[in-house]
Amino acid sequence: MLANDQLIRVTGLKKHYKDVLAVDGISFSVPRASVFTILGPNGAGKTTTLEILEGIREPDAGEIEVFGIRVSRVDRTVKERMGILLQEANFEPYLKVKEVLRLFASFFKHPLPVEEILDRIALTEKANAHVKTLSGGQKQRLALGAALVNNPDLIFLDEPTTGLDPQARRNIWSIITDLKGEGKAIILTTHYMEEAEALSDHVCIMDHGIIIAEGSPQELSAQLGQETIIEFTAGELPADAIAPLIEGCKTARMDGELVTVETEDLIATMEHLLAWAKGRDLELKNMVVRQPNLEDVFLSLTGRRIRE
């Protein structure tokens, strides 16, 4: 077993497509009973990283050590202990839920009983329903079930809650938390910052194929110091309208109608802000005062939002 019970360790991983360097020598490790989250905008290299670790692609360089075994690529033996939920959770639409799980269970040497999986993903009542009749949340739970049929030690979840309603998202979160409690290591990618903050033990932020920051959500947020964030809308403003605001705070920027101000002196900045609004006869709406989150960390590191 790897030191500190690390289930997977990646060192100097590289991958390029033609002239594009998708992953540029990244290294990380994931211990047992933890959720390791990879954040990054589209094209950051996180999907390529996951595809290499899932065995879909071969790396150009670097070392992968899984379950204590150094492998040049992820093979069948390794896959026996891995569970994978892909970004696109599609199955044959005319198969029944239990048929899908039975099919996936047949690919592994030591699968769990299908009934146990159905119970875990709360789809027992839908066992005989055709895949095409399932809601988005139910399909995603089925995809999660297919990823768990072999009782894996290492689980990859690629944007598991994208497009789901809040309730369905909470259901998936609950399953992930339980899995972590059972000692499984989970590698997660997501676009939802609150999801990363709620579930992650360790977050790794990627951009342009490299890791630009990593640590626990709290550690990353702390990188922004004692800052406070003020957000509000004030209708459509000219691009230079917020220039005077910068004088009273650390940064100020405009994203459509949304104005975001970062400050280390909340009272002084608020006074300055109110005077600025009064001077321009602006009505401040939807005002929120909050502590920095991972989105702010990403913004401060890259200069853009994660979904841009």
């Binding site: 899932e54 069948r76 005319y94 039975r102 996936f104 047949s106 690919f107 055709h130 995809a143």
Partner: protein, 405 residues
Amino acid sequence: MKGILLIARGHLITAFRERVTLFWFLLFPMFLLVILTLIFSGLGNAGSTHFSVAIINMEPSTGGSKDFAALVESVFEQAATPSEAGKEPLFSLAKPAPGEDKDAFLAREQKAVRLGHLAAVIVIPRGFNQGLMQRILGSDSAQDGENTITIYQDEANAGSQMATSIIEQIISGIDREILARTGKFDEAKAIPTETIWIGNASGEVAYIDFLLPGVILMGFFVTGLFGVPGSILFARDRQILRRYWVTPLTTPRYLAGFALGHVGLCAVQFFFLYILGRFAFGASVNFAHPEPLLFLLLGSVTFLAFGFFIASMAKTANSGMAIANILNMPMMFLGGLFFPVSGLPLLLRVIVFVNPLTYLAAGLRASLGVETVTFSLPLTVGVPLAWILICVLVASRRLKWDVER
């Protein structure tokens, strides 16, 4: 192995649950079979339990209770007599006219069997009475064939087979009558019968017997040409295949399951089309022999390979269907499935000669005895095999099992 079987099962049940697929792989061929049969062949004779048979008694009449030959003949005469209720008799019986050359009569009736005009010919040999008596008494001095009733039948004709079976049952019943006369009945000494298959004559078969093998092959063809690339490309485009590849499932195992499912689908097609042809239109072709079954398997695998070929040439499921449509018309209609393709213009003959359907249809029909042998066996088998090889080679090089990035 379980994974392979479940992939095959998934392939099969998906085809049954998806209405569009069900229509194209099952209902369309059945519909076509019905339409073509109704248009091109007469109806009304199918399903009848009335058989035309001929009987020739070579034994000179001796009269008395030991004239077993006359007894057998009289039993069949009774079976050919209409009942008092006016019900049609089981047989219509042809016999040589008094003074007619019996050997010439036999030759004529054998030809009638071959042409499908007669279900069977029963021949009671000369010396039958004495031979049977010696057999009953336990003496082995009877010469070979002296006590054996010969039935000439057409094995490829279901009506002929059914008539033969009934004739054998009647002869078995006659044993009991002989028991009453001799008091020495023994199962081992019952009247032996010999059935001789005298085959079928080309060009004289019912249209349904010509059509049925063609429609079955068409069903395989459509399933291979459209169903195989459709399934693979849909699963690839929707990343269903990708979901498989991140498990320990290997491509060869997936392919084995897919191929098994495809052959199973063809078997289901064959079953329903055969049942329809046999019971609705009285098709009499008999597939229960190794040669036609091997041709069916070869057909199924050939079009599976074509399906892989198309999947390898297409970037999406839609383009796969377009390629399949381009190949569909010339291959289907210039393969001799529905009508003979001899005498076509040179350009069309080229398509006929490179078309694997031409050889599969000809080979299958020849193996069923509904068409004379058109090509040599190596050519009949070799051309489809060559296409399998070409398609598999191209597919193995070009077919992408995952969406491209």
